[in-house]
């Protein structure tokens, strides 16, 4: 009896908001897929050196996580769809929800461009707690002593150095000037539908862009070294491609 009454109740309350109102807004799931030299990226647990950089460093990747923000859609007439989002992309997690972001309620229209920013947006990249104070964001904190905000990316692993020892590297990027703006042409018609697109993050490009990175040059202590971070900011421009 209770159940029936409840169903009646549900029906009426839902009916109230759906009748006579054809929804033309759409959703777009934006996926991030990670590759190294065109094969699916493998995150290592052990010290096996499964990859080689363009400069010949044998290495692996044990940790990779990074923020993207400001996913924005544009129509050719200048209309923008901007939800002011930020999301931690974490390829170490098996659950794909750590590797995508869904834009919802996108107004009907034809969108011809998409852009996003690598890193946390300036307004939120502050100390303390520009982002919600949860363990996910806390683990990315960029200490107050170093200017505050968040690590935009943590990429860590081991490599074989010039004395043939297997040692660590830690590519840590942060600080507002090191955000990377990315934009791509798009052909997206929104009319009440659910769609998806995929960015491929070509992780090898971080090492092999305008700057050829040699891990022997010391990538362990770069949080206070803007010169080193700049090399990655410049390489980062080629990392994400729209599939």
């Amino acid at each position: 009896m209770k159940v029936q009454l409840f169903l009646v109740f549900l029906f009426f309350s839902l009916a109230g908001c759906t009748w006579g109102n054809q929804n033309t807004n759409g959703t777009l799931q934006v996926n991030f897929q990670h590759t190294f030299q065109n094969s699916t990226l493998v995150i290592s647990e052990n010290n096996q050196l499964i990859y080689t950089t363009a400069t010949g460093n044998k290495f692996n990747i044990k940790t990779l996580k990074y923020y993207i923000s400001k996913l924005t859609l544009y129509q050719s007439n200048g209309v923008k769809y901007d939800v002011n989002m930020v999301k931690l992309i974490n390829p170490m997690e098996a659950n794909v929800n750590y590797q995508n972001y869904t834009l919802s309620n996108i107004p009907e229209g034809k969108y011809t461009k998409i852009s996003f920013q690598f890193g946390v947006d300036s307004a939120r990249n502050i100390f303390p707690f520009g982002l919600p104070n949860n363990s996910e964001n806390n683990s990315m904190e960029w200490p107050y002593t170093l200017g505050g905000g968040y690590h935009f990316m943590m990429m860590e692993g081991v490599f074989q150095n010039s004395s043939n020892d297997t040692v660590g590297y830690a590519i840590h990027l942060g600080k507002t000037p090191n955000q990377i703006y990315n934009e791509y042409p798009l052909d997206l018609n929104v009319n009440g539908n659910d769609q998806s697109i995929t960015f491929q993050a070509n992780i090898d490009q971080w090492f092999n862009g305008i700057n050829q990175i040699n891990l022997n040059d010391g990538y362990g202590y770069m949080m206070e070294d803007q010169q080193k971070q700049l090399l990655f900011k410049q390489n980062g421009v080629g990392v994400f491609t729209l599939k």
């Binding site: 010290n47 707690f129 363990s135 692993g157 081991v158 297997t166 362990g220 949080m223």
Partner: protein, 361 residues
């Protein structure tokens, strides 16, 4: 119109159900008002064990009562002493009949924010953890079923369980829930370090600030493992177990997180402990090998063992490891780090009446 009738009927039904349940659930005004500063991380508390005043107060009694041990000699508080921030100033704890374990008792501070317990992370919740010591032959050497029976027959406890959980027939689960509730409210947030959030570096003396800087820069690397500026709570799941180079390749086999995961890549990874009240919780490390903080600083400076799972935050500077066997801290830097660690001491915590032995008058 029909909609409103339905709502009214539904409301009436729910009032009726609530009335009927009154006996079995704690009264609404029994909910415990748990406050933590805004700069603490969001709390994710289990929905099946909400904090209640009667649950917390019962948990506190159980924590301090040796009734939980086989010969009524040992309580949780025997090894978790409030004046040591609920750790113990002994290398190894002594359980029932003088049995000793081989790990150092851990502090109980701000555990409400954590998800894995024990040095090797073998408990996934406080509820799961709470009965571990009871059943451990080296600790309380009891069985949880036996304790439940003792408490059911106790004139003092039976009504308290009824008040907190709706039934006077005590189960191990209820014991675990009550103790966990008490543990969750044990919070430290009144140290000198906590003032940093209000007044930034003005919270510190020059030495303390110098230590703070070493801690929170790549000079010390400490922050990469010991938690965000936020709270110095050891934080989330993916960074909580680390290998800081205490053990050699041989020594670490099967020890630490690998005990649980059976992965050799987890050998020697231990729970990153909170550093809050660290000046009070010695001896240090899972095996209590260091008597004081200077020995800990010496270890990070020059005693790190280069095992196969040594954390990247140390292996990324092979030159320093080679030259110093660690970070190569100067004596002054070590003193500054210790000065900073001392700012984490919170004496209002160790004197908090809400945490003290309820049986002591």
């Amino acid at each position: 119109m029909k909609k409103y009738t339905t709502i009214v009927i539904l409301l009436l039904i729910s009032i009726f159900i609530m009335q009927a349940c009154e006996e079995h659930t704690a009264a609404p005004d029994d909910s415990y008002d748990f406050q933590a500063p805004a700069y603490f991380p969001q709390l994710i508390s289990p929905t099946n064990n909400p904090l209640t005043k009667s649950g917390v107060s019962l948990g506190r009694m159980l924590f301090y009562d040796p009734i939980l041990s086989s010969d009524s000699t040992i309580s949780c508080a025997s090894c978790h002493n409030i004046s040591s921030s609920f750790a113990e100033n002994k290398k190894y704890s002594v359980g029932v009949a003088g049995a000793t374990g081989d790990v150092n008792a851990m502090a109980i501070i701000n555990l409400a924010w954590q998800r894995k317990f024990f040095w090797n992370g073998r408990a996934g919740s406080l509820e799961e953890q709470a009965l571990g010591p009871v059943n451990n032959p080296l600790e309380m050497h009891e069985t949880s079923e036996n304790v439940a029976a003792k408490l059911t027959h106790s004139k003092i406890y039976a009504p308290l369980f009824k008040k907190a959980f709706g039934t006077a027939t005590v189960t191990p689960e209820m014991i675990a829930k009550a103790i966990s509730q008490f543990e969750r409210i044990i919070v430290s947030n009144q140290s000198t370090y906590d003032k940093f959030y209000e007044i930034q570096e003005r919270a510190f003396t020059a030495d303390e600030y110098a230590g703070f800087r070493i801690f929170f820069t790549e000079r010390g690397q400490c922050f990469h493992c010991h938690g965000a500026n936020g709270t110095l709570l050891a934080h989330n799941l993916d960074t909580i177990f680390r290998n800081n180079g205490l053990l050699t390749d041989q020594e670490m086999i099967g020890k630490g997180l690998s005990f649980v995961t059976k992965k050799t890549t987890d050998d020697g990874k231990f729970k990153v402990p909170t550093l809050r009240n660290i000046a009070l919780t010695g001896p240090y490390m899972h095996d209590g090998r260091f008597e004081n903080l200077m020995q800990v600083m010496d270890f990070y400076s020059s005693g790190i063992k280069q095992n196969r799972n040594l954390d990247i935050n140390f292996t990324k500077s092979p030159e320093r490891l080679e030259q110093y066997g660690g970070l190569g801290l100067t004596t002054v830097e070590k003193q500054q780090l210790i000065a900073f660690l001392n700012t984490l001491t919170d004496t209002s915590f160790t004197h908090n009446p809400a945490y003290q032995n309820p049986f002591k008058k």
